[in-house]
């Protein structure tokens, strides 16, 4: 307890909570969207995004195409499940490949799992849809999928796979995909330098473990940042590294929704500490790195969208320490995802059945 107090005091003095010095305005790109969830910016006028309810939508030349793209696989739209994360291939301009993560119903539909497909983006549709990852085993719950993606510099794909809520202890075991970051090649094959490849008891896709519900991931100069929902309190921002154990649920700064102590421990040797945690929860939902200069005070910052109470956290990280924290866009309600556009503007997806896509522009 004393240690926690000392850490809290230390954090208060080491982090500069600053008020925004940027003048900005909002421009609505699209509205009346059905639970917008993940977005990928093709260029300043073209944005592809998912609606949790199962639609893949596109803003073309600055205008929302009223028709969803066809060719999307069947998704389970229930609880927290649905069409979720989306990312462009690093060579998208040449190959038009995209990757989509979603909750996929099993035959009989009593169970479901996280699935990732690759597909080719055409005008009005996607084609060449190929499953490149399916989390194992399947689950009975419709929660905690993770379902975000990021590319490492070597072209391999990181996929966040949540703990499925009821299966939290499985995050500590390597024979399943609950509570893991997995790493695969874009054709679904396993990279030969994955960290647990020589461990016959481990699934070969696993890259890091001990995670809960990872809702944001981004790679900056080779450093992998991921944010994850804690239970009641204990949301985390981590620097993820291969083979590392991030502790859930053996160590946590949160309590269960019932109020119960999941673990009285917050640290253990061999388990990684977050570079930041939030108590009470902010429900971090997406993450982007802002390296543009349209808003010079925000350059080189992580932007983390948050559902509770609804805002974007701008964090500056230096030497694995948070040196600046600022709350932005707190007048928009729950924000599900954030991305930066090549023109320096910031794109936000607000959450819910009447969600919006909003561009943050210079005033």
């Amino acid at each position: 307890m004393r240690k926690r107090i000392l850490i809290s005091i230390g954090l208060i003095f080491s982090i500069h909570l600053i008020a925004s010095e940027e003048n900005y305005a909002y421009e609505t790109l699209a509205e009346d969207l059905s639970h917008p969830w993940g977005l990928a910016v093709i260029d300043e006028n073209n944005i592809i995004f998912t609606e949790l309810s199962g639609n893949l939508r596109i803003i073309e030349n600055g205008k929302l195409n009223p028709e969803p793209l066809s060719g999307v696989p069947e998704v389970l739209f229930a609880g927290q499940g649905g069409l979720s994360g989306i990312i462009l291939d690093p060579s998208f301009n040449d190959n038009k490949r995209i990757y989509i993560a979603f909750s996929s119903p099993d035959a009989g539909k009593k169970t479901n799992t996280l699935e990732v497909v690759s597909a080719t983006l055409n005008s009005g549709s996607i084609s060449n849809v190929k499953t490149i990852f399916k989390a194992s085993p399947s689950r009975r719950t419709a929660a905690h999928y993770g379902a975000r993606m990021a590319f490492l510099d070597d072209g391999t794909l990181l996929i966040t796979s949540g703990d499925g809520f009821n299966y939290r202890e499985q995050a500590q075991y390597l024979d399943n995909h609950y509570g893991k970051i997995v790493r695969i090649n874009t054709d679904g094959s396993i990279p030969q330098d994955n960290p647990f490849l020589s461990n016959t008891a481990a699934l070969p896709e696993i890259w890091s473990y001990g995670h809960r519900n990872l809702q944001g991931i981004t790679v900056v100069d080779g450093v992998v940042y991921e944010n994850e929902h804690g239970p009641m309190g204990g949301d985390e921002l981590n620097i993820a590294e291969p083979a590392k154990n991030y502790g859930w649920p053996a160590i946590t700064y949160g309590k269960d929704y019932s109020g119960a102590t999941i673990s009285p421990f917050t640290e253990k040797e061999g388990m990684e500490q977050p570079i930041k945690y939030w108590v009470p929860s902010i429900a971090p939902s997406g993450m982007a790195y802002y390296d543009d200069t349209l808003f010079p005070n925000w350059t080189d910052s992580l932007l983390i969208s948050a559902l509770v109470p609804g805002d974007v956290r701008r964090l500056k990280v230096e030497n694995s320490k948070i040196t600046e924290e600022e709350i932005l866009f707190s007048d928009l309600g729950r924000i599900r995802d954030v991305a930066s556009s090549p023109d320096g503007t910031i794109i936000l997806a607000t959450d819910g059945p009447n969600g919006k896509l909003i561009r943050v522009i210079k005033k």
């Binding site: 009975r140 719950t141 053996a250 019932s258 109020g259 102590t261 999941i262 009285p264």
Partner: protein, 149 residues
């Protein structure tokens, strides 16, 4: 009447303490299995912390949930006892078990199969919780029988 109310409250409190004990044990036993340093002191302090937080720091106070379940189940048992010739202890034991079973089985249906009581995620966990409902109900029925004597 006063004694009945007191016994009803005691039966709810017994169930609450047992359900929270099971929740605590479920979490602590798993932590021990992954070599976390769970001592008797840690266990006891966690249990008392859970008694407080599960009744005032969570989404729903567990004591209120159990109280509602028991009130409904005991009322049904009382009505059935008019026609069915069975001891009060057994009737209220079954009612207590049914109340907890309803809580652990129905709550997940309302939350997309999510078990809000983590200790009730497994069949063994559910069985133990239902048994604790049975014990609490038995206490209530037995106390009613004693009053009549």
């Amino acid at each position: 009447m006063v004694l009945n109310s007191l016994n009803l409250i005691l039966s709810i409190l017994i169930a609450t303490c047992l359900v929270i004990l099971q929740e605590t044990m479920s979490n602590m036993f798993w932590l021990i299995s992954v070599d976390m340093p769970v001592t008797i002191g840690v266990f006891v302090s966690t249990y008392f912390s859970n008694l407080l937080l599960m009744n005032g720091g969570g989404a729903i106070p567990i004591v209120a949930l159990i109280a509602v379940g028991f009130l409904i189940a005991y009322t049904v048992a009382k009505i059935l006892l008019i026609w069915i010739n069975v001891s009060k202890a057994n009737a209220y034991a079954l009612a207590g078990a049914a109340a907890i079973m309803a809580i652990v089985l129905l709550m997940p249906l309302a939350f997309y199969n999510l078990d809000v009581l983590a200790g009730g995620r497994s069949i063994l966990g559910k069985t133990i919780l239902v048994f604790f409902g049975l014990v609490s109900g038995y206490y209530f029925g037995k106390s009613l029988e004693k009053q009549r004597v």
